[in-house]
């Protein structure tokens, strides 16, 4: 893309005049656009790493672990259910810490529960978290201590029903912004996050338990991993030009690594189901892939906020000006 300095009426340099770093792949066709001294049009979200991408990962891990715990409990995989419940409690506790830590005024965290606003995914998420957190906690504590087993089962099932909301609402959180690389992908992001969360939960179970005890986790991985891979492809296709940061630079590398680990993890989970080591390695791969995916999506979106071309060119096209 060529930048026209300040609406200078002279046409911008064509292909020959364009500066291009060596080895840099030209993904987007050369489109002229004007900006104010190359300054971003929108503000980069005030969210930091690792707090926010970490929160996306941990929230997914917790939510999908609760789904796994409920499924495993009902189908008679007691050890798996226990591990998944403890995972859910640990992950949601850590994620809450990350969330509060990212606030500009952490001491006012409770103001999140001052109102309920369906127009704010963060408000919806806060209420969801405050319902889900105690349920996940009760499920884990009851299983570990043996206290109140009936209530524990009820909490397990309830957390399993709210967990999917925890795992996917974060897609709304990102997409309901002016950040082009997130907003324009809002039709695909929730499925990507659901798949990634499934991989994380399945991965942790595979990593910690012997293969014969984790059949539901393998099933979860065989459903989640393909869903994630397909959703990511569809997301990139939808984004078109705005997909550039998803495919280049650091976020591009993170997402490519995530894809390799997801495919490898899925293969290991399926074909290594009689081998403890292969199964555990597959689990670690899936878990790492999920984390890398969240960091990649986070950083790619931030990159589309920083560079004005991702805001200006699609909007001009929408107005039929390019």
């Amino acid at each position: 893309m060529t930048q026209v300095e300040n609406g200078h009426p002279e046409r911008a340099p064509g292909r020959d005049g364009r500066r291009r770093r060596r080895g840099e792949q030209l993904v987007v066709p050369d489109v002229e656009f004007t900006s104010y001294y190359g300054r971003p049009v929108i503000k980069e979200p005030a969210w930091g790493a690792p707090d926010v991408p970490g929160y996306l990962f941990l929230g997914g891990l917790a939510g999908a672990s609760s789904v796994l715990a409920a499924g495993a409990q009902v189908s008679g995989y007691g050890e798996l259910a226990k591990v998944a419940k403890v995972t859910a409690l640990g992950a949601i506790s850590l994620s809450a810490v990350a969330l509060v830590h990212d606030l500009g005024r952490p001491e006012r965290f409770a103001n999140m529960l001052r109102v309920f606003k369906p127009t704010s995914p963060m408000s919806v998420g806060s209420w969801l978290l405050s319902a889900y957190g105690p349920l996940a906690g009760a499920a884990a504590v009851s299983d570990l201590t043996g206290i109140l087993p009936a209530a524990g089962t009820a909490a397990t099932i309830s957390a399993g029903l709210l967990g999917p909301g925890i795992a996917t609402y974060t897609a709304a959180l990102l997409c309901d912004t002016a950040v082009p690389g997130w907003h324009e992908g809002h039709r695909e992001m929730p499925y990507l996050f659901a798949g990634s969360a499934s991989c994380a939960a399945a991965g942790l179970a595979l990593l910690t338990l012997p293969p014969e005890a984790v059949r539901p986790a393998r099933t979860l991985a065989t459903l989640g991993a393909p869903a994630e891979l397909v959703a990511k492809r569809l997301l990139l296709r939808r984004l078109g030009d705005i997909a550039e940061p998803y495919e280049t630079g650091r976020p591009g590398r993170l997402l490519r690594a995530a894809e390799v680990l997801t495919v490898g993890g899925l293969a290991g989970a399926v074909f290594g189901r009689r081998n403890r080591v292969v199964s555990a390695l597959a689990g670690a791969s899936l878990l790492a892939a999920s984390a890398l995916t969240r960091f990649g999506v986070f950083e790619a979106g931030m990159a589309t906020a920083r560079d004005p071309k991702y805001t200006i060119i699609p909007q001009r096209r929408r107005r039929g000006m390019n």
């Binding site: 009426p9 103001n111 999140m112 309901d176 039709r187 979860l220």
Partner: protein, 284 residues
């Protein structure tokens, strides 16, 4: 039929919607608005440095910059001052220069993304139809920052809260005009009931076009645009992006029904997965 944001927010009886019409063709880049805003609102210092890019050392709107005067220098063919004049002159001597200056501010959108996404209710709609942050409620979550399609609102590093133009809510309540409009020596910044400002702006842009300013255009005055029209709107002499403004902003929450639908479907998929996992019996 345009939206009445104050009524929508619950004010059954309310004063007329007030706003800004910033006519950039009258701006001389004096920055009196920036200074008056800082003085009246006690906005802290926002960096004293030279950018080296132009006479603009304020760079953009932010937590501690609620008015920002943009400065653009363009080379243009001598003759009528339009950037669309045909056939650039052959010799460099025939090149002219024009300066564009524009005082930017919060748009006080009819459909306001910052207000929609604020989880604490710190951002609210006033009886004048403007959008204001209650600093004693804001917990600094930063959601408004990424939601604003104009990059207006931001978080202040030292106090952790989000800040932006209030359209001098305190002055409006006392029947006064905002500090920036009061200070503007050329009436580039005009304050008043939005309906009146829109009528005035339509006449002004017609005059400028008749005088050969082919790119003169009103920006955010149309209630049918992607933010339902701005409570602050502009007359520009070139395309919006030249001034650092988005060419076709759309409030992100317009897509919220679609966003929640897909989140719901994805969550339902996970619930179904959980049920499927529960149905599989463990082999003995």
């Amino acid at each position: 039929m345009s939206i009445d944001p104050a009524r929508q927010a619950g004010y059954l009886e309310h004063p007329p919607r007030m706003g800004f019409f910033t006519d950039t063709s009258l701006c001389i880049g004096c920055k009196a608005c920036e200074v008056a805003c800082k003085e009246w609102n006690a906005v802290p210092e926002d960096g004293i440095e030279l950018t080296g890019m132009s006479y603009d050392n304020t760079v953009g709107l932010g937590a501690s910059t609620w008015r920002h005067v943009a400065f653009i220098e363009q080379s243009i063919p001598v003759g009528p001052q339009t950037s669309s004049s045909p056939a650039p002159p052959a010799s460099a001597a025939a090149e002219g220069v024009r300066w564009l200056m524009s005082s930017d501010v919060c748009k006080h959108c009819t459909e306001s993304a910052c207000l929609d996404v604020c989880p604490t209710g710190a951002l609210f709609r006033t009886e004048f139809g403007t959008v204001v942050v209650q600093d004693d409620v804001c917990n600094g979550c930063g959601y408004c920052v990424g939601a604003c399609p104009f990059g207006v609102i931001a978080r202040r590093e030292d106090d952790g809260g989000a800040h932006k133009c209030t359209l001098c809510y305190d002055r409006l309540g006392a029947g006064m005009e905002p500090a920036c409009a009061k200070a503007c020596p050329t009436e580039s910044i005009q304050f008043g009931p939005l309906d009146e400002l829109r009528e005035r702006a339509a006449l002004r842009v017609a005059d400028l076009r008749a005088a050969g300013q082919d790119h003169a255009q009103l920006y955010l005055e149309d209630p049918g645009d992607g933010i339902g029209g701005g409570g602050a709107f502009f007359l520009l002499l070139d395309e919006p992006e030249v001034y650092g403004l988005p060419p076709d902003p759309v409030v992100t929450t317009r897509d919220l029904p679609s966003i929640w639908k897909h989140v719901g479907l994805a969550a339902a998929g996970l619930v179904a997965t959980g049920i499927a996992l529960g149905l599989g019996r463990r082999p003995r």
